[in-house]
Amino acid sequence: MTDSATNAVEMRQIVKQFPGVRANDQVDFSVRAGEIHALVGENGAGKSTLMNILYGLLRPDSGEILINGKAVHMAGPRDAIALGIGMVHQHFMLIPVFSVGENIMLGREPVSGAVFYDRGQARTSISELTKRYGLALNPDARMGDLPVGLQQRAEIVKVLYRGANILILDEPTGVLTPQESHELFGVLRDLVKGGKTIIFISHKLKEVLEISDRITVMRRGKVVGHLTTKDTNEEEIATLMVGREVLLRVDKKPATPGLVAMKVENLTANSDQGVPALKGVSFELRAGEILGIAGVEGNGQSELMEVLAGTRKASGGHVELGGRDITTMDARTERDAGVAFIPEDRRGAGLVLAFSIAENSILGRERTSTFSWRSIVLKLVAIRDWARRLVRDYDVRTPSIDVAARNLSGGNQQKVIVAREMEGRPKVLLAAQPTRGVDIGAIEFIHRQIVKERDGGAAVLLVSAELDEVRSLSDRIAVMYEGKIVSIESPDTPEERLGLLMTGGGARAGAA
């Protein structure tokens, strides 16, 4: 890496200290012109900090940055944009109430009469750009009305409009369906052919291997590896990322299904918008098995879980738990009856973020005699002992049990929920997106816990947007499409067939 002339980006010895944590510790990072360079690492490894420095949002404490061989100093994103750097953030920098055109133009608006925003010219510029890169977009659509795939496209066009030659994409596939991801990769390859350089941040190793030329791995603020994609594999990257060997496959014995634990018959329910989200769902869930639900998000999975957990009303049909009708039970009664729930929105529904770990660890159990005297006065000592045990047994990484849940990483927040729900020895475990946004190490741990629960005789219903997760954990897979279960498959069904079923195709072919 001596010939920095061919490097589009070269960051040397970057240091960035935040209160209590060194986010970047003497980081060296270089990207060759015209390559797709993947930057990988767990949450909190310092990837985003490094990229925010490269984009001028943060200033490094020390170190130097060279763009196309020249040392630069950036006071803000404006300077980065001038240097041809563009960034598509993980959380889109889009304004939902603005039009697509206004979003793309923002900061470099075409004007008429010196001050007036020129909508016509904006439209022309955008259609030119979208034609050149084959990225169709309607400039007059309201941004908030577009599906995320198109929003991301607008972000990319926004960056191209600013004349960026170096594109940073922060976790671009996190919110995309497999089809949308596939499309995105096509776009990225075209961009590279057109002479752009791309930095691709991800923790999905399969994608990294598919799309990148070279890989930089970070762990705890440091670079721990420079790899060439064609000479490496998932295991090597994962080991570097986590700092120990990681089991990427779920290690489990064949299931030994017992009696029917939960029986769902012709269940219907409405979404928050009042339109039918479940249109007659029926299945049986047996003790000692994991039933995975595969499907593109928004096909009724979330509503199904909520109805089963008692936080959403069913509009018709029945749910039986061990022969007892629980259709109309509220969440508290269901919990007492042995249903545990890991909700998909862990920050909104799973935890009270302002509460400490100890307080969160007894939510839903605070009235029991273990934790309170006559459901009135909390037994603080018992609660603290319980929380300490959970933190130890479930490997929650925290300085103390008094830390507010808000201050934990996503993986550790999820571990607190998993611990709380599983410690109730549930008959039925409802796990919705149990590893979303969680690090590889924590994923491995949570997967092991779910399997352990199954082996202990619990019936597990798993919903996940990650098809890989569904396939590796489940003993049976139910495919959901438009509020119905279209098929029940075995876990070794090829990905292509599941993908087809998930998008509404293949059901007839399968039946034939």
Binding site: H89, L94, G107, E109
Partner: protein, 316 residues
């Protein structure tokens, strides 16, 4: 029946509408300021305090220098200074904007009373001479129009200024590059920042502008509509302007319509001597209308997405 008849009769007099417009403008200036400030994401409930400070220093300056224009400038400056305190506290130090606003309102009320006693002793503040008031201007020819001549073209100079500012604010916010950027900062400051827009500069300018406008309204009140300073003379107008801003869905034109409704109520109340209805009932009228309208007719009013939230660069 007679009361209803009285009001109906009153509604057809040019005098009433002339007074309505003047009363509406007192509210419109701070409402425009609030709209500008909140569109960029800084909640401003301190218009009341800024207006009061403007009114006081306007009178002080007018009495000292006998120059109404200088006095108006001082009033705006005083409002602007109060606003910059709010800006520093809420933009730089990321304090709670409601708390800062309340503090400024209380501070302004206390400061002006204190200074009245300090400067003028316990006697009257003193009256500003007729020649040192903001003048009424009759627009030649147009002021002779039947009905509309009196309502629109026989008004105080500040009324004309406010109407021009109203149109200008509407155009700037929704038709210009600057307005697009201001709204972007209020909706999603980080999106604006990453697009190369200076979030802090825009927020500071907007908050200080709201102070200047509130100060101007204070000047109109103290050395236009009346000719002296009375403690707490703004009488909640800053808060009513705030309601008008929300009622108007954070748009200048919407706020103006709301100000007209409030202004009409005030004008009817001022004419209570010719209506045979309890004046207390009459004084409730505009607020009653507002409550009813807000509860059902206007529909949900959505503030800018980042209204009231401080911006911390790089923190997602």
């Amino acid at each position: 029946m007679t009361a209803l008849g009285d009001i109906l009769h009153l509604l057809f007099t040019a005098n009433l509408w002339q007074a309505t417009l003047a009363a509406a403008v007192l509210l419109l200036l701070p409402a425009l300021g609030g709209t500008i400030s909140e569109r960029t994401g800084v909640v401003n409930i301190a218009m009341e305090g800024m207006m009061l400070t403007g009114a006081f220093f306007g009178v002080v300056a007018d009495l000292a220098w006998h120059n109404v224009w200088l006095a108006t400038g001082v009033a705006m400056l005083a409002g602007g200074l109060m606003a910059s305190v709010h800006a520093i506290v809420s933009i730089q130090f990321r304090a709670d904007q409601i708390v800062s606003g309340i503090a400024i309102n209380i501070f302004a009320a206390g400061l002006t009373v204190f200074l009245v006693n300090r400067i003028y002793g316990l006697q009257d503040v003193g009256h500003v001479g007729q020649s040192e008031l903001l003048p009424n201007i009759d627009v030649p020819v147009l002021d002779q129009l039947p009905f509309f001549g009196k309502v629109l073209f026989q008004q105080n100079i500040i009324v004309y200024v406010a109407l021009i500012l109203l149109v200008a604010t509407q155009i700037v916010l929704f038709r210009t590059k600057l307005g697009l950027r201001m709204r972007a900062v209020g909706e999603h400051p980080m999106a604006a920042d990453t697009a190369g827009i200076n979030v802090f500069l825009i927020r500071y300018s907007a908050v200080i502008t709201s102070g200047l406008l509130s100060g101007l309204s204070g000047a109109f009140l103290a050395i236009g509509v009346s000719n002296t300073f009375v403690p707490n003379m703004t009488d909640g107008r800053g808060y009513i302007a705030l309601a008008a801003m929300i009622f108007g869905k954070w748009t200048p034109m919407g706020a103006f319509i709301a100000c007209l409704i409030f202004g009409l109520g005030e004008a009817i109340y001022a004419n209570n001597s010719i209506i045979h209805v309890s004046q207390y009932l009459l004084s409730m009228l505009p607020y009653l209308i507002t409550l009813i309208v807000l509860a059902g007719v206007v529909g949900r009013s959505t503030p800018p997405a980042h209204d009231g939230l401080p911006y911390i660069p790089g923190a997602e």
